[in-house]
């Protein structure tokens, strides 16, 4: 790890599993924190999620790179004692259990902040630690539904559609990471730690942007519009002769350029489409007119034409096409991790392109308990004999 990282020296004790919590600690790890993932002896639940490479879950690997793993039986007294020493070691704790779990374990914020002053403790959950739903179980798809996000995503047929990735988990993970980072800065200034409560439902509501004011101010009930934008047109997908492409030509200038490309200056001059406001009002009629022309050439042909006129556009990439795109490669947004046993796994790179402390993918995800001995030795100063005994007694793995 010769490269400088922003969070060098920040110690994170990571109790997280599956996705929302691990997203938070992945962000911290990508930014350089030393993240120790404390797993039960059977491991994070997502270690059995497909797809697999040599019996290791690629799902798990893709969101746990840059972390170390220690496997501890927290039901045993000795295991809990080790855990509490790791609490003392840590600057930051992150967990995403049900809101009652850490309290039952005696590892809730009130308890552990007595062990370690100045601790920053982030709890990530479906509905948060307050309010009537705080003890309800939640998954991403429930949060997508109850946030209203699902009500504005989809086609005109009214059948519900989720965002294709688990954006509820991911937003909560990002917001928790933001809160941890802000709390680290605050701790540098004041010496104080604190408790952070981030929820999937909250995170998705924060992500609805104009849908809320379109209702509270505009009086509209926002609905799904396929690929179209509620207040800009044309700004959506069209079908070329071979496949779909996106055209985003909302300003009058871009729209008239687009019409010229299509040989349809009549549209730019039409009273129905003269302003963005009118184009939004007559969106469907406009889309039909544009669609007639766009079907006449391939997506690649249109991209070449639109490119020359600087009209924002793009193909709708399948995952394999995105991965092979030259720009994506140069931005290092798909990276390879090399594990001595599992081999190469390609996954998302990091979006933190920072000139002095770039985010980076430095190590592959750990095997279960891969760093148990190393952490017990170097962070907690246990002897080889003590470690051997803990392994034999199945306190650690």
């Amino acid at each position: 790890m010769s490269e400088k990282t922003a969070l060098h020296g920040v110690k994170v004790l990571d109790f997280t599993h599956v996705l929302a919590g691990p997203t938070c600690t992945m962000i911290l790890a990508d930014l350089g924190a030393d993240v120790v993932k404390l797993e039960p002896l059977h491991g994070d639940d997502s270690r059995v999620f497909p797809p697999f490479k040599k019996e290791e879950s690629a799902y798990f690997m893709s969101i746990n790179r840059n972390k170390r793993s220690i496997a501890i039986d927290l039901k045993s007294e000795k295991g809990m004692a080790i855990c509490k020493r790791l609490v003392e070691w840590a600057d930051v704790i992150v967990e995403n259990f049900k809101t009652t779990t850490m309290k039952k374990l005696g590892l809730d914020y009130d308890s552990v902040s007595k062990i370690k002053k100045n601790l920053i403790y982030a709890a990530v959950s479906g509905f948060g630690h307050t309010g009537p739903y705080s003890e309800k179980p939640a998954y991403d798809v429930v949060a997508q539904a109850m946030s209203g996000m699902m009500s504005i995503t989809g086609g005109p047929d009214g059948r519900p559609v989720r965002v294709g990735s688990s954006i509820g988990d991911i937003m909560a993970g990002n917001h928790a990471a933001e809160a941890v980072l802000a709390a680290l800065y605050y701790r540098e200034k004041t010496g104080e730690g604190q408790f952070i409560d981030c929820a999937m439902l909250d995170g998705l509501i924060y992500t609805l942007e104009n849908a809320i004011v379109r209702h509270t101010v505009g009086g509209e009930l926002p609905r799904p519009l396929g690929t179209a934008h509620p207040s800009i047109a044309p700004f959506q997908a069209f079908k070329a002769s071979d496949r779909y492409l996106i055209i985003a030509a909302g300003t009058n200038l871009l729209f008239s350029k687009l019409c010229a490309c299509l040989g349809r200056n009549d549209l730019a001059e039409s009273e129905e489409f003269k302003t963005n406001h009118l184009r939004v009002q007559n969106r469907e009629k406009l889309a039909d007119e544009l669609q007639i022309e766009l079907e006449k050439k391939t997506c690649a042909e249109w991209c070449e034409i639109l490119e020359k006129q600087h009209i924002p556009h793009g193909p709708i990439y399948a995952i394999n096409e995105m991965i092979e795109d030259e720009h994506v490669k140069i931005r290092k947004m798909i990276v390879e991790t090399k594990h001595p046993e599992v081999g190469t796994v390609r996954m998302a790179g990091t979006p933190y392109k920072m000139s002095k402390t770039p985010g980076s993918v430095r190590t592959p995800a750990p095997k279960l308990g891969e760093h148990t001995c190393e952490i017990l030795k170097s962070e907690l100063n246990l002897s080889d004999i003590e470690i051997k005994k803990l392994l034999e007694e199945k306190v650690v793995r």
Copy 2:
């Protein structure tokens, strides 16, 4: 502002407009930074986006709360001189122009970091500042398309669907905020500032989660699945007699409880549905069977039944229903801002529930140039006479 905030005293000079950049500075402002939004004399483009309340854009208001506005003509020499004094004032600069714009203005990182050492400078853009597409114009819908996100979102009919909010802008704004926060921490440790380059395309690729490894490791080409999850079942929307609801019962235990609720223990015992793996393989057949039963009661009736069995579920809320939900109210995820002229506007609250320094919505979005005089006076020590002259000469507004 009696409440403590994490970023108290952090000065952000905000050159952003529309959505991606303003999302970044909204996060910093919600966390307590002093964000001065430097606008051209005609204002941020999004000030003319609908809906409106008393001629002010609620779109603009919802993502620019907690900020101050100063309007300066950067094409005038005097305006640029004021701008450069604000650069000296700032800890952080955020901008989301096309990648060439700030250089043309002489306000790119290389130039301004000579004026102010230790500056943290975040540039948010569609494709980033490197790579072959770096100068291409991009909007959210283009980034959604080219990231692959659109290829995994939608129904089975193959018609493309965008995520209903502009998640490309929003992720880039979040990642830029994370990088700025990490850079602030690093600056506390080392005294060094740096340049940050965050892109919408990168941000969405980072947000695809398992879709990438399902392709690179699993060899699958991820496709849209409506509301269903690629590797968990049942975990999707079903239609009750009156409306859709979500049921997320992926484990064997939850599935057998669900079958009992439906009076269909035969499904839990069936060889076709015994494990999650089999349920995913036979997802459509299973969904059809469950659908038959679920149509027999209303959504509210099912919610009551599922609640008692602790089976994760939820209605698909429209925006107005989400806003009226008791839990959402208690979590303060919809807040009111009160502007002396515009009146009350309801918008998203902040997801940063921090015990010592909670994120908060303290002030409504500024009117254009609302704080011009205040900032020139208190931050740059200009006299009333000097300010009056600048106003008369239309250097500021």
